[in-house]
Structure formats: C-alpha cells, structure tokens
C-alpha cells in the first residue's frame, strides 16, 4: 500500500502532490486566488486577500497549496519574490520586526547570501534608522519584482504591530505597490474591522465555511485513494459509508482537521463499527483542543469550560451567573469567542443562547469526567439513527391511518420478542426503531399519540442506557408541541440531538 505522508496538524509539511490529492471544497477559490496573484505579479494591480475561519478549517492547507501552484507558474518566477510568514515561530512587535521577518522568509526561499549580508548590517543601526534602511533595502531588492507575502495569523501580527506599525505598513503598501498579500486569521479582528484603524476595508475578506457532509465524504475518499486504501474507498462510496461519515460530521461541525485525523483510524471495518474510531479521534484530538484553550483568555476559558459541562445551549444571563462575570462582559467575551469559532449562538426571542460550536470539542473536554461513556452511547445512537435501513422504508410505506392505530403501535412496542431480555446492542436497535415511529408521529404533530407513547416507552426503557437519548428527544418534542412550538423546549438538547428533532418539525435555527 502506498502510504503518502498526511500531516494532521501541520499541512505545510505535506508534499504538493498530497496537498492537491486531498484538496476539496475550495477549487474555485484556489483558482481565483492564483489568478489574483498572477494579476498582481504581471501588472501594477495589487490584491490583498484575507481568509477567515476557525482553527482546523483548512487555512494552512489552502495557503500551502497556493504557494506550490504559484511556484509552478514559470511566467511569474522572474518577477516574483515570496516570503511566507508561518503561523508559528515569529515574534513581531514592530514594523521593523515585520520587515526582518519578511527578509527571513525571502532567505528561506532563495538563500540569497548577498541579501543576508546586507540585512545583517541593519542590526548595527538604531531601531529608527534600521526600519528606514530595511524598507529601502526591501524596495531596492524587489526592484521591479512583486513580493508575495503569505501571512498566517494576521491577527497576531497586527496585534504585535500595534496601530503605529499598521500605519507604517499601510503607507509602505500605498506608496510602493510592491506587494500582494494572502493572509489568514481564525476570526475577524479589530485591525481590519474597526473603521478607525488603517486596514479597515483594505482586504478582500473570504470567510471559509466548514465541510458539508458530501465534501467531508469526498475528503475521506480522496485521502483513502491517496493512501491506496481501496477497501475504504469502496466502502465510502456506498450509502452506508456516507451514513457513517454523517455521524462524525454531526460531531465535528465540518472541521477539516477532524476529518484528516479521523481518516487515520479508518478502515472499512472501523468506519462501519465507528464507536472505537471516534474514541480514538477523541484521544488524538484532546491535546489539540486543550491547546486551542490556550489561545483564549482565562475568562473565556472559564466560559468554554462551563458550556462544555452544560452540554446544551445556555442564555447569557446564566453563563454570567455561573462564571461570576457581569452580563455585559459575558456578552462581549461570547461575541469574541463566536468570531473565533469556539461557540455558536441561537436567538430565542430577544435572548441569545450559546453553546460550543463543535460537539466534538465538548466531548473532548468532558471525556475524562464520565470515562467516555456518554460519547459511546451518543455515537452508538447516532450510528443507528443515521443508518438508512429497511425499517425506514417499511414505516414510510405504511398507509396514512396506520399510525393512529394504537393496536399496531402497541405491537411495535411490546411485540419485539427480543425485548427486554436481549443484549444491550439490540436495545439500541429497538430504541431506534421506536424513535423512527415517534418521528413520524412528530412530523404529523399528533400530540396526543406522542404523549401516550412517550409515557409507554419511558416506562419500558428508562432503566436502559440505550433509551436515554431517544427518551430525551421524545420529551423535547412533546414539550415543543405542548408549548405551541416553543423553541425553549429544544434548548434542553445538545446541538447534535437538537438537529434531529428540528428535522422532525422542519424547524430552522435562528
């Protein structure tokens, strides 16, 4: 088997071939970005692009891919100088630091010793003089070439530059037209969003979306193909394969990184069985999610931890109360966390309710507290729920009035000869089947029958772990209808469960 190197956390380490082989979702954007860079190199026009998206959304992969595509364009090479400021390893506290980092990036590209010597000489000057000399040297070095500046985490760079450094950078760009920029940031930040700061309205901002289910399946398929895993490729191409991926998609929230990590645990067998593969992802991603906590302030960490422990959306007031922070501060911290992609919100009347955006992050942070049992149950449930099996067809094929026939439903509930003596694996299957019937009642808003069967199945199933999630969904659905479609009832559920009940009622989140 040809196992090409696949980096889970540092895409820039991958070969251009691998980057291309597993590239999904953004081909049109990539082509436009290359066109814009070509335009910037060959004409006086200069494009400045900023890609915004949370960590793990594929920004570094994208930048790496663009880098290699540009390097391949022969027509540009005599007129292009590249400097790539990688996401780690730079400390920028002033415009001078930025200039020196740009030179560092140029050395890495072209190993120009003469330039290196000239830059060395800058260190003997005063900072003010050094800055002016460095800028002049850069202009002279570029001559008629265009600098392609690749900057990851522009928000951090701008923070280091402060307003004064940003003003100097903008002036340099305006006066010289010598540079095109492709930058990334995990969220929009003041430096580009505040109208009093120099770079307001300067960048062409592209918000990167997470993977859809189809794109996620495509990514896994491409990885399987690139690594020569034919069995897995075949399985992924089946409906069942897509069903399994859907479970991870529900948990991962469209994060590229999670799917790349996930791919490493996959074979046809592990994907089908799923529970252990997800447990392995959790194990592998825990340090990553813990590291993500280091990018936020202690107060924000506290909020994230609180939301993880709640496991469902929480209104601002309640978050403020339990974190001992004022409502106003909590609101602004949550807004910041939302921009950074950590939390998502839903409006309920005039209130905003917040929860962790990626269910997987919540499970990673909580996994040690319950030894992973709740995740196993959840994955097991979702695996069953999202499997398109023959029962679904059978239920949908029944005449309209069959579901008002209580006798029939009673048979469904009591008639399983395997229930309740059978092994727990079967209980999960039964719970799913019962829930499928309940789903149909819910979609018809047959409240009386829903209440009746809720009580029957609560009595029969409440002692069994496998029934906990289905019963939660039933309760929420009943409360939702009883309250005249009051969405507050749905807020008792975590995001991945809420989505299921919403589908029953064709409800859209606000």
């Amino acid at each position: 088997m040809n196992k090409a190197f696949l980096s889970r956390f540092t895409p820039s380490l991958m070969s251009p071939e691998m980057l291309e082989a597993i590239f999904v979702q953004r081909e049109k954007l990539a082509q436009r970005t290359v066109d814009q860079i070509r335009d910037s190199v060959l004409t006086q026009t200069k494009h400045y692009s900023l890609l915004v998206g949370p960590r793990g959304i594929g920004k570094t992969h994208f930048v790496s891919l663009i880098y290699y595509r540009i390097k391949k364009l022969e027509e540009l090479q005599s007129r292009l100088v590249i400097s790539w400021l990688h996401e780690d390893g730079y400390a920028i506290g002033s415009f001078l630091d930025l200039l020196l980092q740009i030179f560092q990036g140029i050395f890495e590209e072209n190993k120009d010793k003469a330039l290196q010597e000239k830059v060395k000489a800058i260190y003997s000057l005063s900072p003010q003089e050094a800055e002016a000399v460095a800028l002049r040297l850069l202009k002279e070095y570029l001559d008629k070439c265009t600098l392609l500046l690749l900057i990851e985490n522009l928000d951090e760079v701008f923070k280091g530059l402060s307003e004064e450094g940003q003003q100097k950078l903008r002036s340099a760009l305006q006066e010289n037209s010598f540079c095109t920029i492709l930058a990334t940031s995990p969220a929009l930040f003041n430096g580009v969003a505040s109208q009093t700061l120099p770079f307001y309205g300067f960048f062409r901002i592209q918000h990167l979306e997470g993977l859809s289910l189809e794109e996620a399946t495509n990514l896994l398929l491409k990885i399987a193909e690139a690594q020569g895993n034919e069995d897995l490729s075949k399985f992924l191409a089946t409906g069942l394969g897509e069903d399994r991926v859907r479970v991870v998609h529900e948990l991962a929230g469209g994060s590229h990184r999670v799917f790349v990590v996930f791919s490493q645990f996959l074979t046809e067998k592990t994907l089908d069985e799923l529970v252990n593969a997800v447990m392995e992802i959790l194990d592998d991603l825990t340090p990553y999610y813990q590291a993500r906590m280091s990018y936020v302030s202690p107060q924000q960490r506290k909020i994230i931890d609180f939301l993880a422990s709640r496991g469902r959306p929480v209104p601002v007031k309640e978050i403020a109360q339990y974190c001992f922070i004022t409502n106003q501060t909590t609101s602004s911290q949550l807004k910041d966390l939302q921009e950074k992609g950590y939390v998502s919100s839903e409006s309920l009347g005039r209130e905003s309710w917040y929860e962790l955006r990626e269910p997987l992050m919540r499970h990673c942070l909580e996994v040690k507290k319950n030894r992973g049992e709740s995740v196993r149950l959840l994955v097991s449930f979702l695996r069953g729920w999202y499997t398109r099996d023959e029962l679904e067809g059978k239920i949908k094929g029944l005449p309209e009035n069959s579901f008002s026939d209580r006798e029939y439903l009673q048979k469904m509930a009591y008639g399983w000869d395997i229930f309740p003596q059978n092994p727990s694996a079967s209980l999960g299957m039964i719970a799913k089947k019962i829930l499928k019937i309940f789903e149909d009642l819910a979609s018809k808003e047959a409240l009386l029958e829903m209440v009746y069967w809720q009580s029957v199945w609560t009595e029969l199933g409440e002692k069994h772990d496998e029934f906990q999630i289905p019963l939660r969904l039933m309760n929420a659905a009943v409360q939702f209808l009883k309250g005249n479609r009051n969405k507050r009832a749905l807020m008792e559920l975590p995001i991945e469960e809420r989505r299921i009940v919403r589908e029953w009622f064709k409800e859209k989140p606000k």
């Binding site: 814009q36 004409t43 003089e129 003003q167 903008r170 006066e175 120099p198």
Partner: protein, 406 residues
C-alpha cells in the same frame, strides 16, 4: 444563451478591457475607470493653484491621485501616504526621503537642506532619519527642502499628500494644536512664496473635521483659502456600467446579457466603484443563474450582512469618532429623519420633524449640523433648497440598520 465576452469588448463605443475584481486593493492606473474628465479638471486647476480633493470614503480619491502621479510624464510629482507620520520631524523626514527617492540625483537637489541640517546638528548627518534637532527646527528644514526642490530646473513640483488630515489629527494629539496649526500655516506660506509649488490634500477623514477642532482651540487662520476645493463624485452611471462590464469579462462570469447585468449593478450601487467591485466579486463566486434580480438580492444582503462587507458601518461610526459627543444625537436624529423620506425636504420641515423627536433649543445648531453633514457627504441640498441623502444606497443602509424600515 450564455454569453462570454472574452478578453475585450465595446460598450457605447468605448473599448473595454477585461479586469479582475479588486475591492479594497491597489489598482493599476489603467484600471481606474471613468475618471479621465475629473483628472483633466484637476490638472487644469493645478495649473493655477493647489487643490483640496474631498469625497466620502471609498469614492476613489487615492486611486485618482495615484493615477495622476503614475501618468505624470514630464512633471515632477511626489505621492506620499502620510498616515505613518505623527510628528513634524517625521513629516520633513518623509518629504526628504520621497524627494531623494523620486530624483536619482536626490542628494545634490537637497544640498541647501543638507547643509542647513549640518549647521543645526553640528555634524554631518549621514542616515535617513533626521537628528533630534529636527524636532525643534522642523519648520526651517521644511522650508529648506521645498526651496531646494523648486529651485531645480524642470518646472512645477506637485505634492500629492494622501491622508494629510489624519497626519494633522495625529500631530494635534501628539504635539498639540499649535504645532498642527503651524504646519498648515507653513504649508500655506510655502505655496505663497513659491509659484511653482502645488499641493493636493486628500484623505479618508475630511480636512474640515481637523480644522473645526483646531478652530475650537483658537485657530483663526484660513490655511486652505488659497486652494481650490474639488469634490470627487460617484462614477457616471455609464462609467460604472463600463466598469461592471469589464469586471464581468475579467472574471469570466457567464450571464445571458452582460450589459443588462452591468447596468443593474451600476444603478443598484449608485455608481460607486468600490461597491461595483464588491458586487461583481460576489458574482464571481455565485452558484446558479445570474439575472437582474440576483444583483438586487446581493445588494440587499450586503446591506444587512452582519459581517458588513461594504464597510457601511463606517457611516455610523465616523460620527461617533469625529463629532463632539453632544453633536452625535443631533446628527443621528437628522439622518434618521432623512433616511425615511422618499423625497428631499426643506430645512423647516426637517427641523419640525426633529423637534417632534427631541428638544430643540437652538435652530442655528441644526443649521450647522446640516452643513457639517453636507461637508461629510452624508446629505446634499438640491437646487430647490431641499435636503436628502446624497446616495440612496447609504440611505437604505441607514434606514435598515437603525431599525427604521417600518
């Protein structure tokens, strides 16, 4: 049938060149569309006097002066972005640097300046940065460098100073109002002294905002009364249409009738080039059929998009930033009223409507605010004397964003 215009085309007998969209980026001079007449007007004005170029943000001031600078064959022009400058010494420094860079024989041109600097400093100054003595003696040094420059053969010297108001704003904050006033006075005096010196002031905040705050601090001079004020309007609709068409071609966007789409874009954004760029940029990523309604939907979505891709929030925030605290509610009140009007209204009508919303103690304060809002390009007065928003698009945004739609 889909039409692909390819690399070139014509519209209304104008040859069109395909261009990539570039909202917010730096345009090549050849891509600055529909500004030839204005540029001619500017050069004509500059034959006689210096110019203050004003316009609302995003109207293309910087692109215009950069185009003038780039296409000024035979003229000595200096373009500077003064946003980086925060002290008079830095101002002089940046002029010296730009002049020396613009002229390959820079050092010789600035001989008088260098010799004066050496005398003041007591030793030869070799670096790019000026010594500390320039903090005190910036005025004589500024005069010296300009004197050196205009003394050289070759005719008129043109300075295009972008973000000059921002520089003054910073100097006012860093060194006090008096220094900012002295800079303005010195520049005026230089213009009076040297007939071959021309300056173009422009920037993203209005110069009048800075002058108003200096007047509050006791400044009584008129530092720009010798300069011609020229306003940058939005593009003529036909030019905006040409621009949209060129961008559609450049992005290879497949549409049934490019001219209808281009016309709709131009009309939907009141001919403002920056917004034309944004709309076509969105079309370049569009999945599905593009028709006139698509354009209207895109613009409507832009106006209520929380990410504010058109930078519309600026129109509200700049008032909070540059107006006095007590002026903010008055400005908001007037704009709230005008945003809901379908036709221009008289001053009396406007004042009456305002009185029904807030206590009015001084009609003159309203007059002054109406004038300020005109200077800041929010509103305009028509020949009948009635007031309305200058751009219907901004009126729509204001109404939407302030919750006044119903």
């Amino acid at each position: 049938m889909k039409t692909n215009l390819g690399g070139t085309g014509t519209l209304n007998a104008v040859v069109l060149q395909a261009m990539k969209t570039n909202p917010g980026g730096s345009l090549s001079p050849s891509e600055v569309v529909g500004r030839d007449a204005l540029i001619k007007q500017l050069w004509r004005a500059l034959e006689k006097q210096s110019v203050v170029l004003s316009a609302e943000r995003r109207m293309g001031k910087t692109s215009i002066i950069k185009k003038m600078h780039a296409e000024s064959a035979g003229k000595l022009t200096v373009y500077q972005d003064l946003e980086k400058v925060g002290t008079p010494r830095e101002f002089v420094e940046s002029i010296v640097e730009s002049v020396e860079e613009r002229l390959s024989t820079g050092k010789r041109v600035a001989e008088g300046f260098r010799s004066l600097l050496q005398n003041l400093h007591g030793a030869e100054v070799s670096g790019i940065k000026l010594p500390e003595v320039a903090d005190r003696e910036w005025k004589v040094l500024l005069v010296a460098i300009i004197k050196d420059l205009v003394a050289k053969p070759g005719g008129t010297v043109y300075f295009f100073w972008d973000e000059l108001p921002l520089m003054l704003y910073k100097i006012q904050k860093n060194s006090g109002e008096t220094v900012a006033m002295e800079i303005l006075d010195t520049l005026r005096s230089l213009r009076q002294t040297y007939p071959l010196l021309r300056m173009v002031y422009t920037g993203s905040i209005g110069l009048h905002n800075v002058l108003t705050s200096l007047k509050r601090a006791g400044y009584a001079n008129a530092p720009i009364n010798d300069m011609k004020k020229i306003d940058v309007p939005a593009l003529q609709l036909i030019d905006a249409e040409n621009l949209a068409l060129q961008l559609i071609m450049g992005e290879n966007i497949q549409v049934a009738d490019p001219q209808i789409i281009a016309k709709t874009i131009a009309q939907s954004v009141d001919g403002i080039a920056f917004y034309v760029q944004h709309v076509v940029d969105r079309l370049a990523n569009w999945q599905g059929t593009i028709e006139a309604k698509t354009i209207k939907d895109i613009v409507s979505n832009y106006l209520c998009d929380a990410q504010d891709p058109l930078d519309m929030r600026y129109f509200q925030e700049r008032i909070k930033t540059y107006y006095l605290r007590e002026e903010v509610s008055l400005a908001y009140g007037l704009l709230d009223i005008l945003s809901t009007e379908t036709v221009a209204i008289s001053f009396g009508n406007l004042a009456n409507k305002l009185a029904s919303r807030m206590a009015i103690h001084d009609l003159e304060a309203i007059r002054s605010m109406v004038e300020l809002l005109q200077l800041d390009h929010y509103i305009q007065q028509n020949p009948e004397g009635n007031y309305a928003f200058r751009f219907p698009l901004i009126q729509r945004y204001w109404k939407l964003n302030r919750g006044l739609s119903h």
